[in-house]
C-alpha cells in the first residue's frame, strides 16, 4: 500500500490483543484502513479519541511504539477489464507476478441492489452434469452452495461446473484453500485455456485466517463491475464459506461479543446474507450467480453455518458416493434448486418436469426396496426392477462424470423407463408418453 505525503504517523499503541490494537487518533472514519507496523488493519470501533483496529494479519510482533498510518479509505479494489486472467490475494494485490491493475477504485462490500431493479431469474445454466441440469437445474442469478463433507470432491465438481457453464467471467474467491487446491484450480483453468475469463482472489491456509473476510467482498465487487458496467454474466465461486464463518467467529470472539448458537456471532445470518444476496439478474442481461461450498462436519446440516446458509441460499447440492455403482453422484433426495421451476419445461423440453419427478420417485422406490432387502423381506418383481433401474440411473445420469446436454438426459431417462418399466408404472401424463416413450 502506498503512502502519501503529510500523512500523520502515530506511534503510541495503548492496547494490543491477538487480533486488535487500540490507539488515540483523530479525524478517523469508521471502517477506514490503516497500516500498523506494515500490516493492513481496519477501524472497527471508535470511542471518543480511542480507535480500535482489527489487524488482518494478526498482531504477532507488533510493538507499542509501532508506526500507525491511516489511509483515509475503506478497503477497495481497482476495477477494469485488466482484472481478467489475474490472480490476487485477499487485499487485491497481484500474486501472479504481474503488474498492479489500473482502473476505477471501488470500495468493496458496497450497497445492495434495489430490489425493484432486479429481474426474476430465468436463464438456465447448463453444466452437462445430469444430477444438476436434470434434477436441480441452475439459473443465472441464483445462489447455491454445495453442502459437502471435506473428503468429497466438491472442488473438482465446482471447477467442472465453472468451465462448462457458458458465462463471460468466472471469479474464484478462495478462503482457506490449501495450496494444493489453489494449484489445482490454477492448473484446471490453465489447461482448459480459460484463463482469460478467470479472476481469482485467494487466501490460502498459509495466510492469516482473518484476511479471508475480505475475499468474498473483493470477488463480488469485481463481479458487480462486470455485471453492471459490461452487462456480462458472471459466475462467482466461493470456497469454503465454512472457513469464512470461522474467521467471523474468531473476530467476534476477540471483540468480546456474546456468541450465539455453535459459538458463531449473532450476526452470522446477516453477514452471510450480505454476501449471497449479491447474486442477481439485471434486466439489461448482466448477472451474478454464486456457487459456494459449505463444508459440513459429519453431514450435520443443523450446525449454525449450514443452517443459516440454507435459509439464505436458493437450494443446496449434496454429493454422495453411491456404493452400488462406485461413483460420486449428486444426491437427488437432499439436493434442491429452488429456482428450477422458473426454467424447467419452459426453457427446456416440455417433458422435463415429469421425467425428473418420475425418475426420482422410482429411485425412492428403489431405496425402499433396498431397505426391504436389508431387513430380510422378499422382493417383488417391481422391487427388483426398481433396483436395476436405480443402478442404471445412478451410473448414466446421477454420476458427476456424466457430460451430456439436457435433451440427451431426457432421452436417456425415457430409455431407462422403457428398459425397466411399463408406461403405467412410470406415471407420466399420457400425451407425453405417446410422444416420447421409445418405440420398440
Amino acid at each position: 500500500m502506498e503512502k502519501t505525503a503529510f500523512q500523520k504517523i502515530y506511534t503510541k499503541i495503548s492496547q494490543i490483543t491477538k487480533a486488535t490494537c487500540s490507539l488515540e487518533a483523530t479525524d478517523v472514519g469508521y471502517g477506514e484502513l490503516a497500516i500498523v507496523n506494515g500490516k493492513l488493519a481496519q477501524v472497527v470501533k471508535i470511542i471518543g479519541g480511542l480507535v480500535t483496529l482489527q489487524v488482518f494479519g494478526g498482531t504477532e510482533g507488533i510493538p507499542t511504539n509501532a508506526e500507525v498510518t491511516f489511509l483515509g479509505k475503506a478497503p477497495s479494489i481497482k476495477v477494469s477489464e485488466d482484472l481478467a486472467g489475474r490472480f490476487f490475494n485477499a487485499y487485491g494485490d497481484p500474486i501472479d507476478g504481474g503488474p498492479a491493475v489500473e482502473g476505477e477504485e471501488r470500495i468493496i462490500g458496497g450497497p445492495s441492489v434495489n430490489p425493484v431493479r432486479r429481474k426474476q431469474p430465468s436463464e438456465l445454466i447448463a453444466t452437462g452434469i445430469a444430477g444438476i441440469d436434470l434434477n436441480n437445474t441452475l439459473v443465472s442469478g441464483q445462489k447455491i452452495p454445495f453442502f459437502a463433507d471435506p473428503d468429497q470432491p466438491f472442488n473438482q465438481v465446482m471447477a467442472m461446473v465453472a468451465l462448462r457453464a457458458k458465462t463471460d467471467k468466472i471469479i474464484l474467491g478462495g478462503m482457506g484453500l490449501t495450496n494444493d487446491d489453489y494449484l489445482f484450480y490454477k492448473n484446471v483453468f490453465d489447461n482448459a485455456g480459460a484463463l482469460d475469463r478467470i479472476i481469482s482472489f485467494v487466501n490460502t491456509t498459509d495466510n492469516p485466517p482473518v484476511e479471508r473476510l475480505l475475499v468474498p467482498d473483493m470477488a463480488l465487487t469485481a463481479a458487480e463491475y462486470f455485471a453492471v458496467e459490461k452487462n456480462e454474466t458472471v459466475l462467482v465461486l466461493l470456497t469454503d464459506m465454512t472457513l469464512y464463518a470461522d474467521a467471523l467467529s474468531i473476530v467476534s470472539n476477540r471483540m468480546d461479543q456474546i456468541p450465539s448458537k455453535d459459538s458463531m456471532p449473532g450476526s452470522l445470518y446477516s453477514d452471510l446474507a450480505k454476501i449471497y444476496e449479491k447474486a442477481v439478474q439485471f434486466p439489461e442481461g448482466g448477472s451474478i450467480t454464486i456457487i459456494a461450498v459449505t463444508t459440513l462436519s459429519g453431514g450435520d446440516i443443523t450446525h449454525a453455518i449450514p443452517d443459516n446458509t440454507g435459509y439464505i441460499t436458493e437450494g443446496q447440492l449434496f454429493l454422495r458416493r453411491d456404493s452400488d455403482v462406485g461413483k460420486v453422484i449428486v444426491d437427488p433426495f437432499r439436493s434442491l434448486s429452488r429456482l428450477k421451476q422458473l426454467v424447467i419445461g419452459k426453457k427446456t423440453r416440455e417433458d422435463h418436469p415429469q421425467v425428473m419427478n418420475s425418475a426420482v420417485r422410482l429411485f425412492a422406490d428403489a431405496a425402499n426396496a433396498k431397505t426391504k432387502l436389508e431387513n430380510g423381506f422378499d422382493l417383488t418383481d417391481y422391487d427388483q426392477r426398481c433396483l436395476s433401474f436405480a443402478k442404471d440411473y445412478s451410473e448414466k445420469l446421477l454420476a458427476i462424470d456424466v457430460n451430456i446436454d439436457i435433451d440427451q438426459m431426457l432421452n436417456t431417462g425415457w430409455n431407462l423407463f422403457n428398459t425397466h418399466f411399463k408406461p403405467e408404472e412410470v406415471g407420466i401424463k399420457q400425451e407425453l408418453v405417446d410422444k416420447y416413450w421409445p418405440k420398440n
Binding site: I46, P115, Q120, V228, I258, L336
Partner: protein
C-alpha cells in the same frame, strides 16, 4: 430550537452521540457525514450521551460529526397512494430511487405529491368528530379509502367545512375543524404516525370470531384463522414457508394485504413484484397488486431498518383497519426481526437471555402480536388486522426463543414438518401438532354454525380424531409389520390417509386445486368422512392398500376438477361405485 449533537463513538451501526439538549427515547436523528444524512434512532440514553442505531452503513463516519435530532419518533406517512407501492422498511418508495444500487441517505417520499384523488365528503359542517372519524373518501384502486381526522388529534372537534366532491392532491386542504378553544385547524389527506405506537382510535376490540377464508384446506377446515386473528408458521428451510405465505396472501379473503419481507431473499420479493401485477383477485377481478403493499427489507438491506420494517407494516395495516377494511399482514420472517434485536442488544452490551437474544424478546413479540385484532370503530363499523408471521427456527428446532415466545401469543400455530416436506406432502402443516385456539371460542362456533353448518365443528373434530388414530396405527404397523396386525389396522390407517391426501394436501401450483372455497371444503370433508365411517370387507392388507389407493386417486381427480362440473361428477360417480363394491351393508 431543536437539539443537536456530535458523534462521540462508533461501533458498527451503533453510534454514541453527545447531545446539547433534551433527547427522547426512540427519537429520530440524522448524522451528517460527508454531506450525506444518515437516519438513526435513539435506543438508549445515558447522561448527555444518546446511543443511536443507524439505519445505514456507518462506513466513513467520524468523531465530532454533526447530528440533528428530529424531535419525533420514527413515523410513517399515511394517505391515499400506499396500495401497490413497494417500500423499504422505513417507508421509502423504492421505485422512486435512482440507480441500480440503494444509496446511503436516499430517502424518498412514500406518497405522490401531484396525483389527484377524487374526493367525496362523508362529514358535514357542524358534525362533532374525533381522531379517526371519517371526513370523506377517495377511490384508491377501487377501495374506499377514508380520509380521517388525524390519529394524533385529542378530544372532540367541530367540523367547520368539508370540501365539495372533486379532485384534490394529498396536500390540498379537504376540511377545516374547530378545536375546543375555537381555533381553526386545516386537514388534508396526509397524516403521520409513529410506528412503534399502536393506533387505538377505535371503540373496542372484542374477541375475533369471523372465519377468514384462505382457500388453504388444512387451515380453513382443520385449524381456521379468523378475521383479526393471529397465527404463525414455524418451519425449517425447504419446508415451504414462503410458498404457503404467498398462497395465503394471494387467496385470503381480505381487502388489503401487506407483505413485510423482513430479512428474507430478494428474489422472493421479485417474485411478488413479477407475479402479483399479473394475477387476478378471484373475488374482485382486479389485479392482486392493486390491494397489496410490499415492505421489502431483504436480508442484505440494513439490519436496523429490518426491525423497523415490521412496525412500518403494522402501522399501515392499522391505518387501513381504521377505514373499516379487513387487512391481512404477512411477515416473513419474524426470526430475522428478532435477530436484528439480538445484534443491537449485543452491541449495547446488555446481559443476554437464551441463545443471546435480548431478555425482553417475549415482551416485544407479544406486544407486537397484540396490535392485530378485530375492532369496532367509533362509528359502529368494523375493521380487522389478521397477522400471520413465519418463524425460521435455527436447525428446525422448535425449542428456541423466537418460536417459544411466539407460541405464547399467537392463537394459531401452523407447524411445518420436515417429514411431510420430505415426502412431498404439501402444504407441510402437521395436522396433529398444529392448532387453532379459535376452535374453542363459542363466538366462533356460533358463527361457523351459521355460515357453514350446525355440525361443522363436529365434523372437523371427527376428522382430527381419525388423523390421530391413523398416526398411532401407522406406528404400530411399522413396529409389528404388515402381517403382524389385524387387517382393521390397515383400514384405520388408510382412512386417515384419505383425509391427508384429499383434505390436507393441496397443489399450490394447480389453477383449480390451489384455492378451495369453504363451500367446496365442506362438501369434500363430508364426502371423505362418509368413506371413513363406512365398514368394508377385505381379505388381505394388500387388498386394503390397493383399494384405498384407487379411492384416493379418484378423490384427487375430483380435487383437480372444477367443482360440480361434469368431470367432477363423473369421478364422484366412479368413486361411489367403488365404495359400493366393498361396503358392508
Amino acid at each position: 430550537m431543536s437539539t443537536k449533537g456530535k458523534v462521540k463513538g462508533i461501533i458498527s451501526n451503533l453510534v454514541i452521540v453527545e447531545a446539547d439538549g433534551p433527547v427522547s427515547q426512540n427519537e429520530i436523528c440524522f448524522i451528517v457525514s460527508g454531506g450525506t444524512r444518515l437516519m438513526a434512532e435513539v435506543i438508549k440514553i445515558n447522561g448527555q450521551n444518546a446511543f443511536v442505531q443507524v439505519f445505514e452503513s456507518t462506513t466513513g463516519v467520524k468523531i465530532n460529526e454533526e447530528v440533528e435530532f428530529a424531535g419525533h419518533m420514527l413515523e410513517v406517512t399515511l394517505g391515499p397512494g400506499i396500495l401497490s407501492k413497494n417500500y423499504d422498511g422505513l417507508q421509502n418508495d423504492l421505485d422512486k430511487m435512482d440507480g441500480v444500487f440503494l444509496k446511503r441517505g436516499d430517502y424518498t417520499y412514500p406518497l405522490d405529491h401531484d396525483k389527484k384523488w377524487h374526493f367525496k365528503p362523508l362529514a358535514k359542517a357542524g358534525d362533532i368528530v374525533e381522531a379517526a372519524s371519517w371526513l370523506g373518501e377517495v377511490d384508491e384502486n377501487g377501495m374506499p379509502h377514508k380520509i380521517m381526522v388525524p390519529f394524533v388529534f385529542k378530544g372532540k372537534y367541530t367540523v367547520k367545512s368539508v370540501s365539495d366532491e372533486g379532485d384534490y392532491t394529498v396536500e390540498n386542504t379537504i376540511a377545516t375543524l374547530v378545536d375546543s378553544n375555537g381555533k381553526d385547524i386545516k386537514v388534508n389527506m396526509i397524516q403521520k404516525w409513529p410506528v412503534k405506537v399502536a393506533i387505538t382510535a377505535y371503540k373496542e376490540k372484542p374477541r375475533p370470531f369471523k372465519l377468514l377464508e384462505t382457500g388453504v384446506r388444512t387451515i380453513d377446515t382443520l385449524n381456521p384463522i379468523v378475521e383479526g386473528g393471529t397465527g404463525f408458521i414455524p418451519g425449517p428451510f425447504g419446508a415451504g414457508k414462503t410458498v404457503l405465505q404467498h398462497a395465503i396472501s394471494k387467496q385470503a379473503e381480505a381487502d388489503i394485504v401487506i407483505v413485510a419481507a423482513c430479512g428474507e431473499r430478494a428474489n422472493e420479493v421479485v417474485e411478488i413484484f413479477t407475479e402479483f401485477p399479473e394475477l387476478e383477485d378471484a373475488r374482485t377481478g382486479k389485479k392482486l397488486i392493486e390491494r397489496t403493499t410490499i415492505i421489502a427489507n431483504t436480508s442484505n438491506m440494513p439490519v436496523a431498518a429490518r426491525e423497523a420494517s415490521v412496525y412500518t407494516a403494522m402501522t399501515l395495516a392499522e391505518y387501513y383497519r381504521s377505514m373499516g377494511l379487513r387487512a391481512l399482514l404477512m411477515a416473513d420472517s419474524t426470526s430475522r426481526w428478532a435477530q436484528a434485536l439480538r445484534e443491537m442488544s449485543n452491541r449495547l452490551e446488555e446481559l443476554p437471555g437464551p441463545d443471546a437474544f435480548p431478555m425482553d424478546l417475549p415482551a416485544v413479540i407479544s406486544s407486537f402480536y397484540a396490535r392485530a385484532g378485530y375492532v369496532y370503530l367509533n362509528n359502529g363499523e368494523t375493521g380487522s388486522i389478521t397477522f400471520i408471521g413465519t418463524v425460521s427456527p435455527a436447525g428446525g428446532n422448535l425449542k428456541e426463543p423466537v418460536t417459544e415466545s411466539t407460541k405464547k401469543v399467537a392463537r394459531c400455530f401452523y407447524a411445518l414438518a420436515q417429514g411431510r416436506a420430505d415426502s412431498k406432502r404439501y402444504p407441510a402443516i402437521d395436522p396433529i401438532d398444529s392448532y387453532s385456539k379459535y376452535l374453542e371460542y363459542p363466538e366462533f362456533s356460533e358463527y361457523v354454525g351459521k355460515i357453514i353448518s350446525e355440525t361443522w365443528l363436529d365434523l372437523v373434530n371427527e376428522a382430527k380424531t381419525i388423523l390421530l388414530r391413523g398416526k398411532e396405527t401407522y406406528e404400530q404397523i411399522n413396529i409389528l409389520g404388515d402381517d403382524g396386525v389385524p387387517i382393521d389396522y390397515h383400514v384405520t390407517y388408510w382412512k386417515s390417509e384419505v383425509i391427508d391426501f384429499i383434505v390436507l394436501q393441496q397443489d399450490a401450483f394447480d389453477s383449480i386445486d390451489q384455492s378451495t372455497p369453504i363451500e367446496r371444503q365442506q362438501y369434500m370433508l363430508t364426502s371423505v368422512l362418509d368413506i371413513c365411517r363406512t365398514s368394508f370387507d377385505f381379505d388381505s392388507f394388500n387388498d386394503v392398500t390397493n383399494y384405498f389407493k384407487k379411492a384416493i386417486n379418484l378423490y384427487k381427480q375430483m380435487n383437480y376438477s372444477e367443482f360440480k362440473s361434469e368431470k367432477f361428477n363423473k369421478f364422484e360417480q366412479e368413486l361411489n361405485d367403488l365404495i359400493a363394491e366393498r361396503r358392508i351393508a
